[in-house]
Amino acid sequence: MSRCQSVARPLARQLQQRSMQQCLAIRSFNTTSSQQNAAASAAPAAEVTPLDLDPNTVLPEFEDALIKAGKMPVGSRRRRVALRSNPNSLPFEQLPYQAFQEARKILAADREQKIAKIKKEVEKIARLEAVEESQFRGGPKMKATKLASLRKYVEELKIKADVNDPIVKKRFEDGLGDMNKPIYRYYAEKKWRSYDQRLITQRISQFHIVPDIVPKLVPTADVQLYFRKMKVPPGEIVDSIVSENPPRLRVQLFNPGERLVTVVVVDPDVPDVENDTFFKRCHYIAANIPLSPTDTSLPLSKIKGEDQLALPWLPAFAQKGSPYHRMAIFLLEQLPGERVDVAKVKELYASRDKFSLKSFQSKFRVRPFGFNMFRSVWDENTAAVMARHDLPGADIELRTARVHSLKGPVKLRGWEAKRQGPKYRQLWKYTKRIRGLSNARGWTKRK
């Protein structure tokens, strides 16, 4: 609902009700007022009820207000409407179906078994940790391997304990899953791998991100790109006026713990006319950004800290006639407990041109783990965007360089071409149309 609508709504409703009351007062004996009754029943639906303030039952028209208040609506709209119509329904786990309850019992028993196993394994780990490295058979290396494999097994068991629970699955699908718990991270990763991960790997290979910008890239986190609240699919061509302001990233990590990340945006397709090649330009660098599986929002415009923002956002732009520019957004993981020296980054990359992510990686010991991209081409807004940000080159157009044939020039052929000399002066008024050079209107060949 737009702002003016929302302002006008109570007023309009009051007027409507008053007119309705008047109608009823005047024609109270009218028996055929079914239409009016319908209108009267429709009008209170627009009113804010306590159900509309509850994220479980909010109607679509009140979603925005709720989101602004910081509460995300739960589940699908259809489900919310169903819950409204039947608020006192039985909880899912208490449904009175015998087979269902029997199945739940079996699942509960299985879960008990898994938890017992986890307890056993944890005890085993504690016992192993207590043993001195020198006493351990196979030495410290063997001990570390054994502990690692045991811990991995425990993690597996933790997932297996909950993976069959329908309530857990439902909670994940409603977006209520706690990403600190391994089972919800497992579901999130499964969902990501089913489509988004494949899409992003395809984009990495089809847009040659891998040999062009980094030699190797295996994404392990879900990175989504939002411009002006709109999700942009990876590789989409974005209008230059839209990409003038920095995007918001939605980052979902799948491994536990908080870490510091660096965000780098690179354009590898900046035309270099003198050398007849391309070079890379860095559009954005921010470092030391804390990220964990629970906080997913990463708005690039909100990163302003002195020890975080190294290079502010430079709008994506493509000169007229240049091929599309790939704007690659990289999320790089810093070593645990290590911070990137932002002052040094500022000093090194003050000039954004001729940027190399490969050397950046080795200089600051970061490793790429998340990726997304969009594309930029010359459009009707690019010139204005470039003027606003003092970017040169808006008045220059790139044209395809002509490659001349290896064969020599061909002598002109044809009746007219043969009769161009002074010998045929009397024919000159008839010999003006030469193929490839001119036509009746005059000279056509571009000089």
Binding site: P211, V273, L398
Partner: protein, 268 residues
């Protein structure tokens, strides 16, 4: 042939019999057949020469390499003509629909193999430098050329307000209660609205052209309609059954034309 050879003793015996019965020398045709049966061609046949003659020369297809290794090419040059894929297009090359390999960049032709891409295929590529070796290292950055030159953007020539004859290029027709219409000057000095603008006028009338906004809505409507029809038919059949045969008065559907005709006949 094999069956003929296997029957050879039998055939020989038969021919012997015939020789005994008819003491005439066998005709040339029979001789030929015999020789064929025996699997040899005698000099008399060979001297005729027809079967030994080679077929006449066809039109040469001129296949094969048109450019050698390290030769300079420009975009569009044909490097190799072939039937099928003896060679595959590699770096800066494309394959035409008749499997011809063309260059897509100015550079030097390289014939090479790339086991990382395919274990068996042979590739033709074009490199920008003569000394480059294909295939390039796997994780190295691609070598690309811009292939464009910079030019100043020409500002568009401002269009004059009025035509050379002094009348405006476009006028707006304002009619009360109607949307404004933009009429443009035509070659024949008439003012007329653009056809595409006329088409857009439909939107301003508020007419409902399509009954259904979406295809899905239409199909849903059709489904429901059919369900209603079937239901109605079922009910009618039931009613008919209840009333019995005699109660049903069959009204034969007549076309308009037939009705008219019947009326006319009745009048007479």
């Amino acid at each position: 042939m094999r069956s003929l050879i296997s029957q050879r003793p039998l055939m020989a015996a038969l021919s012997g019999l015939s020789r005994v019965c008819i003491s005439r020398p066998a005709p040339i045709g029979a001789q030929l057949a015999n020789s064929l049966v025996q699997g040899q061609r005698y000099a008399s046949v060979k001297s005729q020469g027809a079967y030994k003659k080679k077929s006449k020369r066809g039109i040469p297809k001129k296949l094969g390499a048109k450019r050698t290794g390290d030769q300079y090419v420009i975009p569009g040059n044909i490097i190799y003509k072939q039937r099928g894929t003896l060679w595959w297009p590699g770096e800066n090359c494309i394959m035409g629909r008749d499997f011809t390999i063309h260059a897509m960049a100015t550079g030097y032709v390289k014939y090479y193999r790339d086991p990382a891409r395919h274990p068996d295929r042979k590739y033709i590529g074009v490199t920008f430098e003569k000394d480059d070796v294909l295939p390039y290292p796997a994780h190295a950055e691609r070598k690309r050329k811009l292939g464009r030159t910079a030019h100043q953007i020409r500002p568009e020539a401002p269009k004059p307000e009025t035509s050379p004859s002094g009348i405006p290029f476009q006028v707006t027709r304002v009619e009360k209660g109607e949307p404004d219409r933009l009429l443009r000057l035509r070659k024949d000095y008439s003012y007329r609205e653009d056809n595409w603008r006329i088409g857009r006028l439909v939107e301003t009338t508020g007419l409902k052209i399509k009954r259904f906004r979406t295809r899905k809505q239409y199909f849903r409507h059709r489904r429901w309609r059919r369900e209603r029809e079937i239901e109605g038919q079922r009910k009618a059949a039931k009613r008919r059954e209840e009333l019995g045969d005699d109660a049903v008065k069959v009204v034969k559907q007549l076309s308009k034309k037939a009705l008219k005709k019947a009326k006319k006949a009745g009048r007479k």
